[in-house]
């Protein structure tokens, strides 16, 4: 599962959905795999408006990626784009859990 995926996920329990702690879900015992995929600068630039940046910062930090800017950039140069590509597209979580910060319900990842 790519890190970008977590930007679209929330707790499966209906009662949790409206609670702010249900997003983003939190990785536990995550095992990462680093792929090597072609860099698509246009895609990275275009996906930016879609991203919930504070949630991405939380998720990225939990996985050890702490060098993203605190605010979502308006545009990305090649260096920043490559870094986003590495985190969003090339990093796969292959084992672990995604846990709701409100109810503790977890979703298992087992790839």
């Amino acid at each position: 599962m790519k890190i970008l995926t977590t930007n679209y996920l929330t707790c499966a329990l209906r009662a949790c959905k409206s609670h702010p702690n249900s997003f983003p879900l939190h990785f536990r015992d995550a095992e990462l795999q680093q792929d090597s995929l072609p860099f698509n600068a246009a895609f990275i630039a275009n996906i930016l408006p879609r991203i919930d940046w504070p949630a991405l910062l939380t998720t990225a930090a939990e996985l050890g990626f702490t060098n993203l800017p605190a605010e979502k950039p308006d545009t990305v140069d090649e260096k920043a784009g490559m870094e986003l590509h590495r985190i969003l597209i090339e990093t796969q979580v292959v084992e672990g859990k995604l846990v709701c910060g409100n109810c503790g319900h977890d979703m298992r990842i087992n790839e």
Binding site: A12, A41, I89
Partner: protein
């Protein structure tokens, strides 16, 4: 026609083998490409965030099974959408499906493919944030059966879950139409849902247009239909959207 993704790496003991219904969806999606081009144009990379109105669509397949549809959309992104700035994601309640889907996507991926985000084990779209899905594709369990199986007890196991739709073959599809669709589809979102004759598709379409499922008066059109082949009943692909 675009090539059908290979699934030669799979065995179909626990997973629905791509069949007439699957292929009707693939053919229909291919014929929808002019519509998809205009609905989901690529944002020019030079435009600033203020003027960009069309970020890469999130394409979600419910019940991906073998993954052949998700793989098709991912690999043929440029032909179908006019660009490869799309993201694809799939869900399935079967424990066997996510791995099969990942394998099928991986086996058919090219340098030109869209971005496959993952295959998640999930009941329909219940763990998705609201309003994030731009294109939803669903080949539901549509065969009328006495009950909707849960995969553990039924003698047909997870294949039974993939096929059996309960009363009128609509019990699972109704769960989508009665709430999930409105919850997960974005403003520009579009859903492609397969229905068979015994689902009474014209009645379903009428109810959708009248807002009888969820209060939304959906724009509904039949965009694909099968002939009457072999033992198969007539299948239709229905396109559902807000405008």
């Amino acid at each position: 026609m675009l090539p059908t993704p290979t699934t030669s790496h799979l065995s179909f003991n626990h997973i629905y083998e791509p069949s007439e219904d699957t292929f009707l969806l693939l053919d229909t999606l291919t014929l929808q490409s002019p519509f998809l081009h205009s609905r989901f144009p690529q944002t020019s990379s030079s435009s600033s965030s203020s003027s960009s109105s069309s970020p890469p669509p999130l394409v979600l397949e419910l019940g991906s099974g073998s993954g052949v549809i998700t793989s098709f959309l991912t690999t043929h992104s440029t032909a179908l959408f006019g660009h490869n700035s799309i993201t694809t994601l799939s869900t399935d309640i079967s424990p066997h499906a996510p791995k099969a889907t990942r394998q099928t996507v991986a086996a058919n991926l090219t340098e030109e493919s869209g971005c496959f985000l993952g295959a998640v084990r999930m009941d329909l779209a219940i763990g998705l944030r609201s309003g994030v899905v731009d294109m939803l594709v669903f080949n539901p369990p549509y065969v009328p059966t006495e009950v909707v199986e849960d995969g553990d007890g039924g003698e047909e196991g997870w294949i039974g879950v993939a096929c059996g739709g309960g009363v009128d073959g609509m019990e699972v599809t109704n769960r989508v139409l009665e709430g999930l669709l409105n919850e997960c589809l974005s403003e520009r979102g579009v859903a492609y849902i397969l229905l068979c004759e015994r689902n009474r598709p014209e009645v379903v379409a009428g109810r959708l247009r009248n807002g009888e499922y969820d209060g939304v008066k959906w724009v509904v059109e039949k965009v694909g239909t099968s002939g009457r082949k072999g033992g198969w009943e007539v299948l239709g692909i229905w396109r559902v959207m807000r405008w």
